[in-house]
Symmetry: C2
Amino acid sequence: MSEIRKVTVLGAGVLGSQIAFQSAYKGFDITSYDISNEALDGARERFAGLGETYKRDVAGATEEAVREARERLTLTMDLEDSVANADLVVEAVPEILSLKQEIYGKIGAAAPSKTVFATNSSTLLPSDLKESTGRPDRFLALHFANQVWQFNTAEIMGTPDTDPAVFAAVVEFATEIGMVPIELHKEKAGYVLNSLLVPFLSSAAQLAAGGYADPEAVDKTWKIATGAPIGPFQIYDIIGLSTPYNIMANGDDEQQKLAVWLKENYIDKGKLGLASGEGFYRYS
Amino acid sequence: MSEIRKVTVLGAGVLGSQIAFQSAYKGFDITSYDISNEALDGARERFAGLGETYKRDVAGATEEAVREARERLTLTMDLEDSVANADLVVEAVPEILSLKQEIYGKIGAAAPSKTVFATNSSTLLPSDLKESTGRPDRFLALHFANQVWQFNTAEIMGTPDTDPAVFAAVVEFATEIGMVPIELHKEKAGYVLNSLLVPFLSSAAQLAAGGYADPEAVDKTWKIATGAPIGPFQIYDIIGLSTPYNIMANGDDEQQKLAVWLKENYIDKGKLGLASGEGFYRYS
């Protein structure tokens, strides 16, 4: 297959803007699509903020490198036009099945046959979306973690229909934009990371919610036993409690109980984690 | 309650000898009990080996400090005599309920009323043992992790009968011997550490056993996402695969399947982990 050079990122929200900026920073021409002038204004602010973040946190991110990255970013509200010349489309629109299917229907008709489509969906499987793309062989999931410049995993997961050459090309692209490609051989809800993180965070919540041990004691135990720099409740605080809450609220009975515990004791009290100044711990 | 100064450790196996040595190293007079001359010879070898390990791995562990630790260790085969003057008895005998109950029956009769009994059991709850001690108010669990000089958690877990002053004294003792006390407010099978570790290691095994992702990819994901120095399959290798196997083999259906997977693909092939030179990874 042809090399991936021109990339379109659909959705310029928190993660979409990061994917676009990181790819541009690594030398790719990026078209960043969102639905309204307001959304594009938000994207411009995010790109500017990411530039500052990179200069502060990314080794070697000079003023010039950041400026060049921003020059490689083109913003648009024209969905069909945004994909007309794309080698790869990374879809990072809201997690609503019908919305994603509608978008895949439109870009499936508008994009050339060469274009590969990749969904960044956290909660849907690519099999849920593949038919709507009209090109199941050129479709897979490419899943990023928030703060892509630091947590640089890119989980890559196809369906049984995905062409292995397409899979390999996306693995290569992920590497080229500075990600560590994590290859999944079969579809798995939660990919690798959430398949580990959700049971881990649940077991920690069970200890605290059940009154067995305090969050501080749980974190201490994990850090000493495994040499990890942070324990599960510090991870909650960094992620923000809302995301685990949403996952647990959709889980089994035990998970739902933990969701209620998180909500009543923390979320309802404004303790949302690091970003809110307090979660399981207080931050200044 | 009186301060804990004289401590008896029942069982001089891998962990019992570590608990005894660490406590002696921190200045306590320790009586180390085991059942036979052969077992005591093994204990002497372990203490000598621990001395070398401490000199190599523990900051400030001089030749003199190690010698003094060994001088504070007294070995005996006389169970009743070993507890006759003890402030604290730490029981680290094999995980057989009837054996432990028999021992508690004997030392309950032989020890003075002041003596506190603590079980290091990993798999039994203190409630399973408390009646056999004849002193439920002076009995609790004090659970160490292998390689106490490095993985220095001491999980402390009472029953509803445990005197809070006894609990507090054991927390203080744990601190005095260089452990980080992890207080459990209620009984929990697996304490804190295994309540986190077992679901975590199971979820990792599910990814690999199910063919979703390779152990290396799973470990990479965890390390990048959480900043941890090692991933779950490296933890398996360090613990040794037999321990998680034994826990999973006694678990639910899903756990038992994972136990079979561990056995057939690794344990039966001699891949037992780091100590055997190979587990999920090869070591030289």
